[in-house]
Symmetry: C2
Subunit: 315 residues, 2 copies
């Protein structure tokens, strides 16, 4: 079995907790390196195995990710899967110097957003995916490479996004060697039918490439969109503890889909996650302690998982 299949088995749901990356993207306060280690340790004890934990960027731009190397080391010591963002050649070169398990690159779904956000064309972004794949292959620990397509369901600049374009970009990412292609509802415009339709089209084109989905709950559709993606065959989902993350294009809005609620959804839909919800919910205490000004979201943490029914999937 390849490392890709070991990391993302086709027949299992994999939930990636991205609170320490996307959850910290816009915050003013952020957890200390020790608190991040505690966060990862306690979530691992709760059964979480996949994480996105930072970004390889100049520390002065994003001080919250200055300790990304330490956090990667923590993940390795815990034996869990670490992914980190690398948004340019320098970041990718830095990433492959570490034992990070997966490098995440980003391609905007629209030319307008690509130019405005990354100051590069989409073609250049695809070329960067290819160079990152080459670097990763030469790296000591040969990390997997994910190409995440941001604004895949709607764009903060152009509004509607042509799904044909997203399908084309997904194929180009796969052709460039990405192991995983991610579809991101960056601004929370998506509805469930739209998610199902796009996922089905991309799956038809991509064959064996793993597809992941990154949903924001900006407009309350996060869990419904995840349910639609599950039904359409996606098995790799991002979510953040307590729904941390926000949306850079909707100030004050709710963030990523709430990881705890996503666990409950998967279990109720018959997919065993191996995650202990009660232990997981307690990890929110670290977020509350380290980022007291951040709003924490989620329903499970208030109501708790039902004790009266067996809500756990059996597979």
């Amino acid at each position: 079995m390849s490392r890709l299949q070991e990391t993302y088995p086709a027949d299992k749901v994999v939930l990636r907790e991205v609170g320490l990356r996307d959850g910290l993207q816009m915050v003013k306060q952020y957890p200390s390196t020790a608190a991040k280690a505690d966060w990862l340790k306690r979530e691992t004890e709760a059964g979480v195995r996949h994480y996105e934990i930072g970004s390889f960027l100049p520390a002065k731009t994003m001080p919250q990710f200055a300790d990304v190397r330490d956090v990667v080391d923590t993940c390795n010591a815990l034996g869990i899967h670490s992914a980190a963002l690398a948004l340019n050649d320098r970041g990718a070169a830095d990433a492959v110097q570490t034992p990070v398990c997966e490098i995440v690159t980003v391609v905007s779904a629209t030319e307008e957003h690509s130019q405005a956000n990354a100051r590069r064309s989409r073609d250049d972004a695809i070329a960067l995916v290819g160079r990152t794949v080459d670097l990763a292959a030469k790296g000591k620990t040969k990390p997997l490479v994910q190409a995440g397509i941001s604004m895949a369901f709607g764009c903060s600049i152009t509004g509607d996004v042509d799904p044909d374009e997203v399908v084309r970009l997904a194929v180009e990412c796969a052709d460039a060697g990405a192991d995983v292609v991610g579809l991101a509802d960056t601004v929370g415009f998506a509805g469930p039918d739209q998610v199902a339709d796009l996922v089905k089209r991309v799956r038809r084109e991509l064959g064996n490439t793993v597809i992941s989905i990154h949903l924001h709950d900006t407009r309350g559709m996060g869990i419904a969109n995840a349910a639609a993606a599950l039904d359409a065959g996606v098995r790799v989902f991002d979510g953040s503890l307590a729904g941390l993350g926000g949306c850079p294009f909707a100030p004050g809005a709710t963030g990523n889909v709430v990881f705890e609620d996503l666990v409950f959804l998967c279990e109720r839909k018959g997919f065993a996650t191996g995650i202990d919800l009660e232990k997981l919910i307690h990890v929110r205490e670290i977020a509350a302690d380290q980022m007291p000004d951040e709003q924490l979201y989620g329903a499970l943490s208030r109501a708790k998982a039902p004790r009266q029914i067996n809500w756990r999937a059996l597979n």
Copy 2:
């Protein structure tokens, strides 16, 4: 066309705002009669046409519903559809003395909950549905009668609920003359597949009886469950402004599915609601002003409806 068909057209989604009933079920503070009138007026201006607005109960038990007759009159003056709970013969007799448009009776899905909560058997509850139907038929304004099956997807006492039992009770409610049969996830145990399965079974049995669904967001599944119910053919949905309502069996938990987010879901799934989200969101100000200690929920109210895309359904 019958009044039932006029009220609940088979080809349109009807969203019932139940904030002034279920939303006030457990609160210590509640809006004044004048504030309730303002609430209804402003929601009507936003395009909402269906409401559950109170309960015919002794005022000393539930002072928040003591003004139910005034609120019914307000609804009639506004030309909107009013529904109100009547949980016993006295309540039903009181209700038919008013021009309320719909009387809602409740049958528990399990014998245990029926006895514990209403101190009657399920058979007695079905018999009460029949007597309410008779009273309604003799009433001056001949209100419609809804029988809501509480705990239809899981019970606070027994845990799992046998769907065969819910189907049987739904048929008995329809046979007793209920115009509308409601399925309620009272404690928020349901997942989307469970909702779809039960709805399909009940629809097969009930023929022309209108089916409504009443979802709580106790564990974050509210919108995903609503999406599943829509896909399975339900066209009548309850929701409460700002997700007011809570769950009597999960203290501090989130409440009913958020009405504003439900509107967005329906529109994104191709069902025109006729509701102006921006105007609707502003009505939350009344809830915030009149019940400052109540937690208000919802994502749309923070992020607002997207301006960049045309998210409105066209039908």
